[in-house]
């Protein structure tokens, strides 16, 4: 998969490595008053014989603020996450959670059908299923 498709810059790559490094030490408790970092809306992509499946990990977002568009074979997921507002004055010890606007673009395979897209937001994950065109499905050809 090319970097162009997934919008991964060199810095995102560093971030990913850092996350993997920190996950190696995940079992150890760190003080609740001192902690670490992350990047936003991670995506997993897969396919079956009849569809292309995409999962965007976007917890804590109002589904009304999520926008999904398909334009010329490019699927764009965009939205905004607001900062959680504590009820009273105090001190902040960690702000690792993503805040602000985000956008991810995914180039769809040529056989994806933009008129047959289903999206669902549950448990903080946006699951998108895009049907494949009938003609591109695998078939067995009988030999006469």
């Amino acid at each position: 998969m090319s970097d162009l498709l997934f919008n991964t810059s060199l810095f995102d790559e560093f971030d990913r490595i850092q996350r993997q490094m920190s996950s190696l030490f995940s079992g150890l408790p760190s003080s609740i008053r001192a902690s670490r970092l992350s990047t936003f809306s991670q995506i997993n992509l897969g396919s079956t014989d009849d569809s292309v499946e995409i999962v965007a990990f976007a917890p804590g977002i109002d589904p009304a603020k999520l926008e999904l568009t398909v334009d010329k074979g490019l699927l764009t997921i965009s939205g905004e996450r607001e900062r959680v507002q504590p009820e009273s004055e105090g001190r902040s010890y960690a702000q690792e959670r993503f805040v602000g606007a985000f956008r991810r673009a995914i180039e769809l395979p040529r056989d994806a059908d933009p008129d047959n897209v289903k999206a669902r937001y549950a448990n903080g994950c946006l699951t998108i299923s895009i049907g494949k065109r009938e003609t591109s499905r695998p078939r067995t050809i009988t030999i006469q």
Binding site: S26, I32, P59, G60, S92, A94, R97, T127, S129
Partner: protein, 135 residues
């Protein structure tokens, strides 16, 4: 480094033996958190996308707060994964809690993949103003 990892694994083992539904396999993702403290105590928000209530466990053991969750996403049969930014569907993070928190009154709420934990301070540990009498 090696001994530390083992220590951590032993810890999760004891949690699992306590009749938990989830079993830890391999490394887990460290969820991003926001932590805020006010006069009442600490509020912690953790991103746990794809984790449902029954697959989340919040434990306090030996003064350590353990948050563990497993993401479960409905996928159609015969799915072939092409690109994955989240490989391990398990989340785990631990914090040490000092004695001034009232662990019996921790309140947990999970909504849209975000866990909100309210850890109140003990009544006697709350900051108070002492009146100075003139006499």
């Amino acid at each position: 480094m090696n001994t530390q990892t083992q220590l951590a694994e032993r810890n999760t083992g004891t949690v699992a033996r306590k009749g938990d539904t989830q079993v830890q396999k391999g490394p887990a993702i460290v969820p991003a958190v926001d932590i805020y403290e006010d006069v009442h105590g600490i509020t912690l928000w953790a991103d746990l996308p794809g984790v449902s209530r029954d697959r989340l466990s919040v434990h306090v053991q030996d003064g350590n707060l353990l948050i563990e969750g497993e993401a479960l996403i409905d996928t159609p049969e015969g799915l072939r994964l092409h690109h994955a930014e989240i490989r391990e569907p398990c989340f785990a993070r631990a914090f040490s809690l000092s004695a001034d928190f009232d662990i019996a009154k921790i309140d947990a709420n999970l909504s849209d993949g975000v866990l909100k934990l309210s850890i109140p301070r003990r009544e006697e540990a709350r900051p108070r103003r002492i009146e100075v009498s003139v006499g």
